[in-house]
């Protein structure tokens, strides 16, 4: 601690390097984390390159042949004779391609929602923790209101309102943005609380006071001195939130406020697939469900490991 007070804080790049090497050492000794990373990487890459990998484009209805519907995996369709790796769904869409494209939507919604929550949460958390007083009271009361309302209700609310005010011709694409907004807005409080707490601790440290003495502006102090020091918990929350956001999107789709069926996300696919659980078309549910499970589980495991690895007291 006295070190920090005497020498000016190290440049972020060097700080980060040390932090990273430490993290990487821990990573190399955690097989679960490595496996999880591999799964996430594969899935993300598959989603990014979906147009190159997928044999069909399930989002272009004009190219679909309805008669291909309900084809079992690796079996020729009774009418068209076409064969599909993971079968087809009720619209004749290739399940494999639909999963790849669906994952793009799920991941995009997940990442974007978490980024939104992170930006709002970190900004408000920094402001509340650093400025204190009225700013803090107002921000934390808003956070209370937000916590008061369960996430899915917030999402349903935003979805309802957005649908009402969006011009009809944009509703198709709007659904995705609304999902991001809804999930992101119901998730920022966690970030804000943690950052505020950490900021309050950091604020009283000598190095911050020193920076203030030499005339640094509050914005610069917050961004250059405090922010790097609260990044660890933020990273952990962000990882776990990503898994939560992907699941939340799936849950919302069950309530009928998810991605549109013509551009299904993994969640929408599962909602559609569960209708065929009893009828024997298991592949429509199973493959998307496994993909979602693999994705969310890996992200969760990664978050778990990150939490332990970044907590020096647990080593």
């Amino acid at each position: 601690m006295s070190d920090e007070a005497l020498t000016p804080p190290a440049a972020p790049s060097r700080l980060r390097r040390a932090w990273e090497s430490d993290l990487i050492w821990s990573f190399r000794h955690a097989p679960v984390a490595m496996a999880a990373t591999a799964v996430v990487l594969i899935l993300v890459l598959a989603a990014v390159f979906a147009p190159l990998i997928a044999p069909h484009n399930p989002f272009n209805p004009a190219t679909l042949n309805l008669m291909n519907g309900f084809t079992a995996p690796m079996e020729p369709n009774a009418f068209t004779g076409e064969v599909f790796l993971m079968g087809t769904d009720d619209q004749g869409r290739d399940v494999f391609s639909t999963i790849l494209y669906g994952m793009r939507i799920s991941l995009f919604v997940g990442f974007a929602a978490v980024m939104l929550a992170l930006v709002i949460g970190v900004t408000l958390g920094l402001l509340a923790g650093y400025l204190g007083g009225w700013t803090e009271t107002i921000i934390m009361r808003i956070a209370d209101v937000q916590l008061t309302f369960p996430a899915i209700l917030v999402a349903m609310l935003i979805f309802g309102i957005a649908k009402g005010i969006t011009p009809p011709e944009h509703r198709d694409q709007m659904a995705i943005w609304v999902l991001i907004l809804a999930i992101g807005l119901s998730d920022w409080v966690q970030f804000a609380r943690v950052v505020r707490g950490a900021t309050m601790v950091e604020k009283s440290r000598e190095y911050v006071q020193a920076a203030r003495l030499i005339g640094r502006t509050p914005v610069s102090i917050m961004l250059r001195h405090i922010l790097p020091n609260v990044l660890n918990p933020v990273l952990v929350i962000a990882t776990i939130s990503l898994a939560l956001a992907i699941i939340a999107e799936a849950t919302l789709s069950f309530l009928g406020v998810g991605a549109p069926p013509t551009q299904p996300s993994l969640g929408t696919l599962i909602r559609i697939g569960q209708g065929f659980l009893f009828s024997g078309e298991w592949w429509i549910l199973l493959f998307p469900a496994i993909t979602l499970l693999a994705l969310a589980l890996s992200v969760n495991l990664l978050g778990d490991w990150l939490r332990d690895a970044l907590n020096p007291r647990l080593r």
Binding site: D144, I247, T251, L255, F278
Partner: protein, 328 residues
């Protein structure tokens, strides 16, 4: 203390007003009840007449004001769908949801603490690691899918447990309970698991983290050094000190349980307020939706308040600042 409580209550009322406004604003966008209320044979004249009758043609602030003044007197009006007072319907449905939430909550708390302690003590054991990983599967699938899978396995294939409803209920005054009949007890198992799984995982992980931190503290080491039995150290000293965050999280999660009950109740046709709400959304039963959201808010605000007070009671050192504890 008193000043603190008063301030919190004042803030709570403000929160309720805001929630009411937002909730009410939503109704304009979920649909139009008039078409749902009139049959296939309705004419254009009927539509206009009913719109006027329900006051839906009046400006938004007027509608909200009417809602507020009536709600303040505990009158949420008549359900458009059932034609009965909303308050009566809510009271009728509340026991189902509360019993479900209670069982899930207890399950989550007991299971979560037990598994959390176990995984913390045997931190490097195989069993603990398996439990940690498996528990994540429960939170990596959407609730509705878990519910449907449980129905498929335990109701359709094994025929052990019912797939829907509450079974036989016994009426005790204004309360209906499923706890007193065999079918009622059987019926609550699957929904309670579906609903409580997420919270159980959450509590388990929280207890584990807290335990791990506490177990490293000096006083625990001293206790061990003094030769206290391992069990006594773990439970009397370590676990006790993890209870503060656990109570906070459980309290806040109680709200989530009620909210997520919407999905569980829909899947299991559980006749609680969540199912009522979903039905109301489909039918655009505005009075029911408004009352439900207000009820939920009152409950949440109440829970928040109680958690704050409990906090104060358990650990005065923490003062009244929940933010600093900063748990992910």
């Amino acid at each position: 203390m008193l000043a603190y409580i008063l301030r919190r209550v004042g803030q709570s009322v403000l929160v309720l007003l805001v929630v009411g406004l937002v909730a009410f604003a939503m109704f304009r966008f979920v649909g139009d009840p008039v078409d749902a209320m009139l049959g296939q044979e309705r004419t254009q004249a009927d539509i206009e007449r009913l719109t006027a009758e329900l006051g839906l043609d009046r400006p938004f602030p007027v509608q909200y004001w009417k809602f507020l003044t009536q709600a303040a007197q505990g009158n949420f009006g008549l359900s458009y769908r059932q034609g009965r007072p909303v308050t009566e319907i809510l009271l009728e449905r509340a026991p189902a949801t509360l019993e479900l939430a209670f069982v899930s909550g207890i399950m989550a708390l007991v299971g979560g603490i037990a598994l959390g302690v176990f995984t913390a003590i045997r931190r490097r054991g195989v069993a603990a690691n398996v439990i940690m990983t498996v528990s994540l599967i429960g939170v990596s699938l959407p609730t509705f899918l878990i519910g449907i899978l449980l129905i498929y396995i335990f109701a359709v294939e094994l025929k052990w447990l019912p797939s829907f409803g509450r079974g036989e209920v016994v009426r005790l005054g204004g309360w209906t309970t499923g706890f007193l009949t065999e079918s009622g007890l059987k019926a609550i198992i699957l929904p309670a698991i579906t609903l409580g799984l997420y919270q159980m995982t959450l509590i388990m992980r929280l207890v584990r983290t807290e335990m791990l931190e506490v177990l490293r503290m000096d006083y625990i080491r001293f206790a061990r050094a003094r030769g206290l039995r391992e069990k006594s150290v773990n439970f009397r000293h370590a676990l006790k000190n993890t209870m503060v965050p656990v109570i906070t999280v459980t309290g806040l999660q109680l709200g989530s349980i009620i909210a997520f009950a919407i999905i569980t109740e829909t899947v299991f046709q559980w006749p609680g307020v969540g199912l009522l709400f979903i039905n109301a959304v489909q039918f655009v039963d505005i009075p029911v939706m408004a009352a439900y959201l207000m009820l939920i808010s009152v409950m949440f605000v109440g829970i928040n308040l109680i958690v704050d007070l409990l906090y104060f009671a358990i650990d005065p050192r923490l003062r009244l600042d929940r933010g600093t504890e900063a748990k992910a």
